[in-house]
């Protein structure tokens, strides 16, 4: 464990430089550059808001705005975007860096850190854009936003845990790269992001407790849309599950480490 931390410290320049280089790749040679990072999720929000607001807008008693549904949707999408972004990037963590791993001695632990770093920076841009939009809609920021770093950290731990496991398996079993997007589709619709949780029939609502992503997304709803403190108890359970996944992920990386470059 201490070895992992030491390699992160020794390779901090590599990590910072790689994150910068990833961001440059997104911006370079496109007219809108960095704007594309926020355009995709916002277009998604606009489409859902346009199609569903008439059906769902009456359901949000806690939000004091005529744009209640759009605000609810956007809050959830902020969290979801980071989760799916990190998980998707993780899939190519080792496979996409095959050349680097085959030719240079780079600590494998540095790669997920780069992924997380680039994901968080992108998410920060989206967050700032959302703050501006909320202000325009008359939904000003509240002090509860200070919870956001904590919620983001829990989400990152959870996403990286799943991502590391997927990344290792994907080196040996490439089907994983096809399975993960399908799982993400299911997860998106089984988590109350597009719809409010009370739309689910009461007898099925217990099932939602099994979805570890639900406490994270509803924490986003709490601090951004409802402007209240998140449910720390539920969040803690997901954080614990996330830490377990990260531990399993690291253990898999260590087990696979010797054979990984052989098959890349």
């Amino acid at each position: 464990m201490r070895g992992w931390f030491r390699s992160i410290r020794d390779y901090r320049y590599f990590i910072i430089s790689s994150i910068r280089s990833e961001l440059v790749n997104q911006f370079a040679r496109s007219r809108l550059g960095g704007l594309w990072i926020i355009v995709h999720p916002l277009v998604m929000v606009a489409i859902y808001a346009f199609v569903l607001s008439a059906v769902l807008s009456a359901k949000f008693s806690g939000i004091d705005s005529q744009y209640a549904y759009a605000i609810y949707l956007t809050s959830g999408i902020l969290g979801w975007t980071l989760f799916s972004d990190v998980l998707t990037r993780c899939l190519g963590l080792f496979v996409g860096n095959a050349d680097l791993l085959k030719k240079m001695v780079v600590p494998k632990i540095a790669l997920p850190v780069i992924t997380a770093g680039a994901g968080v920076i992108n998410n920060l841009f989206l967050f700032l854009a959302i703050l501006v939009i909320f202000a325009l809609l008359g939904h000003g920021p509240s002090l509860h936003l200070l919870w956001l770093p904590v919620i983001t950290a829990v989400l990152l731990v959870f996403a990286l845990g799943l991502g590391l496991i997927a990344a290792v398996l994907n080196v040996f079993i490439r089907d994983v790269a096809q399975i993960v997007p399908i799982v993400l589709q299911f997860l998106f619709w089984f988590t109350p992001i597009v719809y409010p949780v009370d739309i689910i029939p009461a007898d099925l609502r217990g099932l939602i407790g099994l979805n570890p992503l639900h406490p994270i997304i509803s924490a986003y709803h709490d601090v951004l849309a409802y402007q209240q403190a998140p449910d720390l108890h539920a969040l803690a359970i997901t954080a614990a599950a996330g830490l377990g996944l990260v531990a399993l992920g690291f253990w898999l990386v260590r087990q696979a480490s010797a054979e990984m470059v052989d098959v890349l």
């Binding site: 790689s18 790749n25 680097l100 030719k103 240079m104």
Partner: protein, 404 residues
Amino acid sequence: MTLLSVNSVSKSFREYASEWKRVASWFGLPFSPVAESVVLRDVSFRIGPGEAVGIVGQNGAGKSTLLKLITGTLVPSLGSIHVNGRIAAILELGMGFNPDLTGRQNVYHAASIMGFGHSEVDQVIHEIEAFAEIGGYFDEPMRVYSSGMQVRVAFAVATAWRPEVLIVDEALSVGDSYFQHKSFGRIREFQQKGTTLLIVSHDRASIQALCSRALLLEKGAIIKDGAPEEVMDFYNALIAEKENSSVEVRRLEDGRAQTSSGTGEARVEEIGLYNRDGVAVEHVKVGEPVELRVKVNIVREIPSLVLGFAIRDRLGQVIYGSNTYHTGQVIEPPETGRRYCFRINFPANLGVGSYSVVTALHSGDSHVGSNYEWRDIALVFDMVNTGKVTFQGCTWLDTTIDYD
């Protein structure tokens, strides 16, 4: 002191019936690999500071795997590798270059992969820029670079700090000849300061020019470890080796090894160097006309006979070589059982020193097709300077100097 020690290292790649079984085996489930292909077996050697070691071998002999094990990207299946100091490799030239970053930004990024920080690069960035010599392009995005410019920047970063062990791959043969000279110069400078060189190449000349020792890898094992000249001779014979042919190494009186190989249909029976009076000589004066006589016996029936010969210097570098294919004197078919005598006349315009003669008997334009006999160090002679002005180098050029 040993800089690099490789202790009975073996590397095998494991294959499982299904990848799920491989994953299950990490969890301690009793699945064992169905096949193991051994790429390296029981390789051991030690290298001290300032040594330059060439690694030669045919494709698939395990050279790249060995280098990857030494750099640490692959993990040995058995045995261990110890390195005292930093390893740099010039085999990943241009690794991690991002085409949208400028040369300067890429230098910082590439250095970070090697573990160097921003402030450390700041101290040498001017040297790197000066060494690469690409002018204003240094601040342009790398996608507009020619491949030669990329190599220049890559080499300049890779060698910005002197490593304890430097691995040089075939990569050195890239770039224009001016930059090649420049990079060779830097490599030699590192070596003088104590850097150990590991050089992988098929090029006899660069191995013999740079290395003091060579290792020959064949089917994953080191089959020869010794002076570059001897190892390269053996390697050469190995390439030509075919069915029924044999490689034989004989120790000469002066300690040098004579390698001969071939299928044996034709054989050099006698070889000698004669002066104008027809007397066999071992010491030849610079500029003296001499005749190399080679007597060849045809043992079995063959379709054609070509005699090749080459004169090599003390380090084994070829000074001159040709064959009767190129001179249009192929004998086809030669009479079985007959003895042919070839007389090769030339003025010995060579520099002072010891030289050896190689002979080759084959059917076509080179010995790679069919090799009846290849004989290294078939003859040794010394050049002495008695009548000419004192000069340096391996050739006598009859120069005149005027001044006013």
